[in-house]
Amino acid sequence: MKIRKRLLIVTLVVSMLLILLSFSSVMAAKKTVTIGLQGPITGPWAYEGEMAEHSCRIAAKLINDKGGILGGRMIELVVADDAGTPKDGVLAAQRLVAQGVNGAVATYGSSICRPSSDIYEKGKMINIGYGVTFVGLTQRGLKYFFRTCGRDDAQGIFFAKYATEVLGKKRIAIMHDNTTFAKGVAEETKKALQEKIKAGKAEIVYYDAITAGEKDYTPSLTKLRDAKPDVWYFTGYYPEGGLLIRQARDLGIDCPFIGSNAVINEDFIKIAGLDVAKGCLMTQEPMPETLPFSESKEFLKAYREKYGTIPTSPWPVYGADALNVIAYAIDKTGSTDSDTLANFLRYELKKSPMPGVTGPVSFTEQGDRVGVPYQMYVVNEKGKIVLYKPGK
């Protein structure tokens, strides 16, 4: 009994110490410019969260190596984990606001972004999303919210055009998994296809959702097979994508598989197996390794030196650019006042966009990124994701 009591006390003391530890970091960060990162460090998208953290660290390091901003002030990154859930997102945002960071990179996942961007708005803090493509996010009249990534409709419009014009496919199947992101892309694709349907050049033969997290998708896939599509667009995420393509090929569905930008990555290839993943296509913002800008080459070199690899999904580099653009705005305006920064990002930046890792960065008045290009990628024989050249 005594030992148990002691153990309990020890546990309590240790947890108290941890609380203190987590707050002492706030105290130390006054002279530097602090930028927060809210991302899914744990939870189902921990893979994305880790790469985003690495990317932001590299971006901050590159700025600091060049002498920092505002004449020598260093950038310090404060990471807040939102575990990929709306509730933890609110707490993470609240924590960054309470710590008084000068701006926040937040976050991955549209449905987590929505409540947390409200917290930032109330705390008058610049927050820039890096993996949030739901169109409605910037339609709410928020003053401090921006995003460096593109929107769902851009991807849907690109797919509709590419599938019908470049690939010349007519019978189109669209599948999503009912998450905010996947359904958003699917709906935008459907909208973008209406024109082609009217012209008789396309037909949606299948439009349905699967349930994320399941292991056996045979019932949905049987229905898909009966629809006899020419091309199949899946807008969900990679864990389901990998299983779906594997099971579809076993069922004899052999039409081209096109994934949205969250479907195809290294893990997708691992889950599906290279024999099946080979030849799968993806609509995507340019992947990090194909970025042509000198800033991107410098960034990827530094990333590789530190972590031995480069980001395997397109989102983390948008996180790096979100951090870059906050730092850039602070440096240009010479101020850390959120209103000044918001005005700069919204009205001034357009005149001379910031050269970023993902190309020139500037924002529309709503807070959307100006000009995010999309491309079609393919998994090649070696399991690498490369630019797709039609006709091959």
Binding site: T11, S22, Q99
Partner: protein
């Protein structure tokens, strides 16, 4: 004489706790106040599940469904019809309670694991129904957004973290008061009797069926209240806040705290709500430590952190 002293001591502790709770938000950071708010939400959900699981011993692994019904009732009625949140507070509770009555009536005779499976199914049906956007009401995976802050329609608006903190803890306080009274009432004793031996309870003339239904209805009603407050705090609701995992968390709250124990439910909520925040500085090992802490607690206190003392109702 001894008894009077004990009561005085208890009252003293209560007053100290109440004062501490009132001072806390004014000295702590907004972040800590928000953590305390979510602790309050978990406490209310723990208390509500404690009625079903702790008092009557019915396994309910779909409690998030009632929470979701409360939250979505508030969200839909507020955004569509503009009804003030405070007016919707009782409405959400009643809707969730009515929903519980509707879905539990046909299955209430099931026992043990069988009821448990039905409640799991119920939780999933509600979540997937919300995802499928019936009648364009729930907004599918995007959920409903643009929910107001709590107000009665007048100038009194709760829109600060401190305001929400007091709102949830006043509701929790009132619930605790009511539940303690209930525990010592005829109904409470009948519930415990059903938990210990259902056949014996029926033989002594207790209406087992209606009392079981009552516990579900009350539990769901309280969860509905929690849903209302959660919805207006977040200003949006989406189905991913009401998953099976969440139901499991509420289950853990009751088990960790001690079945049927009211202070236990609050302490269990503290463990579930605060531990992930305490371990935040461990970054990606956060959930590992959270799990380890739970295992350790169950190992050292198998009956819960604050088990219910037997004999409170005069029976030794």
């Amino acid at each position: 004489m001894m008894k009077k002293n004990k009561i005085l001591k208890k009252a003293g502790i209560l007053i100290v706790v109440a004062i501490a709770l009132c001072i806390f938000p004014f000295v702590a950071s907004t972040y800590l106040v928000d953590v305390a708010f979510f602790f309050g939400i978990y406490a209310l959900l723990g208390l509500s599940l404690n009625i079903v699981l702790g008092e009557v011993g019915l396994f309910d692994l779909g409690h998030a469904a009632f929470y979701a019904v409360g939250a979505y009732t508030t969200a839909i009625l507020n955004t569509r019809l503009g009804i003030p949140i405070f007016v919707l507070l009782p409405v959400s509770g009643l809707t969730a309670a009515g929903f519980a009555w509707l879905v539990c009536s046909p299955v209430i005779h099931l026992r043990g694991d069988y009821l448990c499976i039905v409640t799991i199914g119920l939780g999933e049906i509600v979540r997937i129904a919300l995802l499928n956007d019936p009648g364009g009401l729930t907004g599918g995976p995007n959920g409903v957004f643009g929910i107001d802050r709590p107000t009665l329609g007048g100038p009194l608006v709760i829109d600060t973290s401190i305001g929400f903190y007091f709102l949830i803890w006043i509701v929790v306080g009132l619930s605790i008061f009511g539940l303690v009274r209930l525990q010592n009432s005829r109904i409470g004793r009948a519930w415990n009797c059903i938990r210990e031996d259902e056949v014996a309870a029926e033989a002594t003339g207790i209406n087992v069926r209606s009392l079981k239904l009552l516990c579900f209805i009350l539990g769901a009603g309280l969860a509905g209240l929690a849903g209302n407050i959660y919805a207006s705090k977040m200003m949006c609701v989406s189905p991913e806040s009401f998953t099976f995992m969440d139901s499991c968390m509420y289950f853990c709250i009751v088990l960790l705290g001690g079945m049927g124990s009211i202070p236990g439910a609050v302490i269990g909520a503290a463990a579930i709500g605060l531990f992930p925040e305490i371990f935040r500085s461990l970054a990606k090992y956060r959930m590992l430590f959270f799990g380890a802490a739970m295992v350790a607690m169950m190992y050292f206190r198998p009956a819960g952190l604050w088990p219910r003392k037997r004999g409170g109702s005069g029976v030794k």
